[in-house]
Subunit: 431 residues, 2 copies
């Protein structure tokens, strides 16, 4: 990103928008309130226009009129079909990616399967930047396997430390990976700081130690180029409701490298992962391939709604998305540095674009109240992450440079004008 030179005036943002190759994708999304600056596409992506139509068809025609026949008219294949679209976004050749359950349930399935592959290895390595829910799932797996003390298993979860809550130093991570490591489980982009791993390098290090690697792609899929096959990744999970615009709580995906599939079974045995579910045999036989990692009946309406949004990603292409993402985040960081630093903000995100996903955290001692003021009276939707991060997500398919300019200007006003002072720091249920 050498050579990017920004200016603080609004006209500069407008010029960037005029030159934006992806600008037309904005029209593919619903904008109910044109004045709203939506900076939370990294938490819940906007609604694609196509999704509205697709879901109406799925409900009124497929369910309402087709009824049970829907299962033979596209529903049954939906987990694979949507999975193969996601595969193209994450650099996976066919037969390795499937849509199923939530990210948490998929993580559970793959961690349990991975640990059973090398039962003599008793260590999982992660980091302190990982999405806490992922750490909870890892802790739950270890608990079930007999940890803590007293068991014959004695598994350990080792977390590489976070530097300033922003990044992980590679030597710290690598020193935690050793010949006792069964699995390295990390988020490709950190949920809070946006720190982006060099996934190819970390995958190689894990393999050198004989460990499997699992990437959670929730904050990178649709924002950052991903090449699972080329990197030699073993396992991956991810959600679809952020940059993939799948809708609230849309079903998640999982990836299992082809060569591993026959050796691994899901801990959750159920009919959609059975070889012949409609034979109704009383004994479980896992399906061939990645299909065995399905469990129960998938939530079809949410799944079809999600699937409808994927084409936009594929059309826009990972390289153009990444190129715009870097410009957006760099521009935001530039403006924050120029305008917000004097107001007590600090950057909670790596400054180097090569180490950054598509969201930026700005930290401020009054971060929570500032975020409330932004939402309640300034028409900006960021989200807040404890203890002091105002997290601004930039979605390359629909975020504009003018919106970045406007968001920073409204942030400035909230602090300059003391608007945040009237808000309580009492947290809402969902922050």
């Amino acid at each position: 990103m050498e050579g990017l030179e920004f200016k603080t005036g609004r006209a500069f943002a407008q010029r960037m928008d005029a030159e934006d190759e992806l600008a037309d994708y904005r029209k593919e999304f619903i904008f109910g309130d044109e004045d709203l600056i939506y900076m939370d596409g990294n938490s819940l992506g906007r609604l694609p226009r196509k999704t509205v139509e697709r879901l109406r068809e799925a409900v009124e025609q497929e369910w309402g009129e087709g009824l049970i026949r829907g299962w033979n008219a596209g529903w049954y294949e939906a987990p694979s079909r949507a999975g193969e679209k996601i595969a193209k976004i994450i650099g996976a050749s066919p037969g390795q990616t499937i849509v199923a359950d939530s990210t948490s349930v998929n993580l559970f399935k793959l961690v349990m399967a991975a640990l059973s592959l090398q039962p003599e290895r008793r260590r999982i390595v992660s980091d302190a930047l990982n999405f806490p829910s992922d750490l909870y799932t890892l802790q739950g797996c270890l608990q079930m396997l007999g940890h803590p003390a007293g068991s014959q298993h004695d598994y350990q979860l080792e977390l590489a430390p976070a530097r300033d809550g922003i990044s992980v130093d590679y030597p710290d991570l690598y020193s935690a990976i050793n010949e006792d490591t069964a699995l390295v489980s990390l988020s490709h982009v950190a949920f809070k700081s946006g720190f982006l791993y060099d996934a190819a390098a970390v995958t190689e290090k894990a393999h050198q130690a004989g460990a499997l690697i699992l990437w959670d792609l929730s904050h990178s899929a649709g924002a950052v180029p991903i090449e699972l096959d080329r990197w030699g990744v073993d396992l991956a999970v991810g959600c679809t409701y952020k940059y993939l615009n799948g809708g609230p709580g849309a079903p998640a995906f999982l990836y299992v490298r082809g060569e591993l599939q026959d050796q691994m079974t899901s801990p959750i045995w159920a009919w959609f992962g059975q070889r012949s579910p409609f034979a109704f045999d009383l004994d479980y036989q896992p399906a061939d391939g990645v299909q065995r990692f399905l469990a129960g009946t998938p939530p079809i309406l949410s799944l079809l709604a999600m699937e409808a949004g994927l084409d936009l990603q594929l059309e826009a292409g990972a390289e153009r998305i990444r190129s715009k993402s870097i410009k957006l985040t760099a521009y935001l960081i530039y403006l924050a540095d120029q305008i917000l630093t004097p107001l007590g903000f600090t950057l909670g995100t790596p400054g180097d674009p090569a180490q950054r996903g598509s969201h930026v955290s700005l930290r401020h001692a009054e971060g929570y109240r500032i975020s409330r003021a932004l939402i309640e009276e300034m028409g900006v939707l960021p989200d807040f992450r404890e203890p002091d991060n105002i997290r601004l997500g930039l979605a390359p398919l629909y975020s504009s440079f003018s919106e970045v300019w406007e968001a920073i200007d409204r942030l400035r006003r909230v602090v300059d004008e003391g608007r945040y002072r009237k808000y309580s720091s009492q947290r809402l249920a969902v922050t």
Copy 2:
């Protein structure tokens, strides 16, 4: 049901419809093709009119315009809110029922939690009528706990036999439950034959042996009165896409008896089951109550669509639903006996209404081809269950007696006129 006297003529069906107290509920559902006889509400319930509107609002307003704010405007509470509606349908006082994941994943969570409560007990009792996917999940749990042989655990799954594939003899079941039984896991209504357990009696027997009981209510919720609290049930799961009209693959529910909740934890630890998910602490602390059995982010669109259909159940009331259900199934069995027995059909369902849910299986050596002919050219949608069951589901909220008459008449014609002969017995992906 003494005193029910039926006649074979169509006029009798029309008279029954005229006297049907629930007849008006039919108007609450979408009927795209009025000539279609839908006898598969036990597999995928019809689309309620309210659901269409609710989902449109959820998509276009809550997601499209509200965006991330939807989580604080009703989405976050949806698993509990819908759970409490289902609680009223299954006889559970508040705080014990929650909507989450699929039936399979919920079964997995509750079985693992149950087994950890009494680790010295090494036996699960089920039956050969249970939905095979439930048996798969039980097998997977035992596999993970170290079964088969060679482990220190040595868990066993014991299946009470099925008599003629239709029912279970209580002495067979009870003799399998002993002081080594940790859990009795059964379907309240059997998926194929419609056999209905005396759940209160079986629950008592399990408790007498010191075992926990888990009921899968997938085929009974919304069709049969359920009194989980009164029966003293420990655990239950169920799907919502059959008689609850929740939509294809709609999220499932689970019930954990209040007194057990603090002693049990889900094996799948994730943020929606964490005490304070948005504090993002690195260590898992289970939420209080049944909330701890949530895992990842729920599929909101499918969940809200499902929730919209529940009110119809609550309004109609369990007693009226059961009363009509018994009349419908008894009438169908009467007509089948009069009209179809001479054509080679046999009854695959208990004749005693007290032992029967709301679907009836008719068996025939050419069952698969007959079901294909019904679907392809007779405008009747049953479903087929191996090896020879044509399963006819009667949904008290919208199935009519005239439809029953018509379905039996069309079945007669398919066989009388040899229409099934042109169909292959090659199975479709989903049967």
